[in-house]
Symmetry: C2
Subunit: 202 residues, 2 copies
């Protein structure tokens, strides 16, 4: 996890270095979400880190200060929002391993949350950054669950990710352009329809 | 805001007192959300309280301890989720005043967030508990914005709330049954259709 202080570091780096080396996946996704928000294309936010607050000080004439708190295991994913009227929900993970993405990186709670989102008609996916290869993948939760539920392995082999994952092509202002992939994967029909209507009217 | 310790108080009270007096609106909404989740009717969660973490201790052999953190102004609402395939988003407020609900209780950020949810095709509303009258109201953001954007007043008069708000009828296991109101307000057509289909098949 990276915290507010790291943002400063990031901005400094960004000025000196256009490459994304050293930037966290979370920072990149937040940049993309801000970009989408500015363009009014989608409303997606990272949820705050869940914590249990134990002690709060209320010093006179200054802001309440939390002096004891602990990180909680999240019961949902980090990101959700709305795109083209649809509910979208995803979890993002950086994977340092070369050969596979271990299931231990995702809490079972989160998997069940993503499963129920699909059952309720939403769009759910994983974003995985394979750090060693410097490639980001989008994996539909439907595909992920097929492998996960089989329970034959405790990780997604990299070959599987290459076969079933969808590669994200980073841009500078939009480092994790996941909405473009959603268009292809979930809205193709409506895109074709639009294209047809346009063609007919010409 | 009420924090983890207050939950204990609540549970104790619940054992001795079936009335909802003294329980926070947030606690009640969380109970309803849990109920809806158990019934697999919707997936709606409260977002964690946004905080800025400044200092974290990593004591050996025990959990990371946050020793300095501050509350942040939320840029979105407290609740969002999926219902009948639709993205839903709402903010909940307790109102202690008798005559009106002051706009100062909602951050302008949150109003703009709710506005953009509607623009993107989602369902957005406010839940307001009028503490003095012990009545909970659901207000569609469309209706709220009409009044808010007029900028003639700095609060919603209680008469306006009575006229434009929709009363929630609390149950014991489901103290804030807002989905029933959403059915009426947003899904009536499909309900009528279902009723017709049923009638025809008899």
């Amino acid at each position: 996890m990276r915290y507010p202080n790291s943002r400063k570091t990031y901005q400094k780096e960004a000025l000196h270095n256009a490459s994304r080396r050293g930037m966290s996946f979370e920072t990149d996704i937040n940049l993309s979400n801000q970009y989408y928000l500015r363009e009014n294309r989608a409303v997606v936010h990272k949820k705050p880190t869940p914590i249990t607050i134990v002690k709060v000080d209320y010093p006179k004439r200054s802001a309440a200060k939390i002096t004891e708190a602990y990180f909680k295991i999240p019961s949902t994913t980090d990101y959700n929002g709305i795109y083209r009227g649809k509910y979208i929900d995803f979890e993002a993970k950086e994977c340092q391993a070369k050969a596979s993405f271990p299931f231990s990186s995702i809490h079972p709670h989160q998997v069940e949350h993503l499963r129920s989102i699909i059952e309720h008609g939403g769009i759910a996916f994983l974003l995985i950054r394979m750090v060693v290869y410097n490639i980001d993948y989008l994996i539909k939760v439907e595909d992920f669950l097929e492998f996960y539920d089989a329970k034959t392995r405790k990780s997604l082999p990299y070959e599987w990710i290459q076969e079933h994952g969808h590669v994200l092509h980073p841009g500078y202002v939009n480092p994790v352009p996941y909405l473009d992939l959603l268009d292809e994967l979930y809205f193709e029909e409506s895109y074709e329809k639009n294209a047809k209507t346009k063609a007919q009217s010409q």
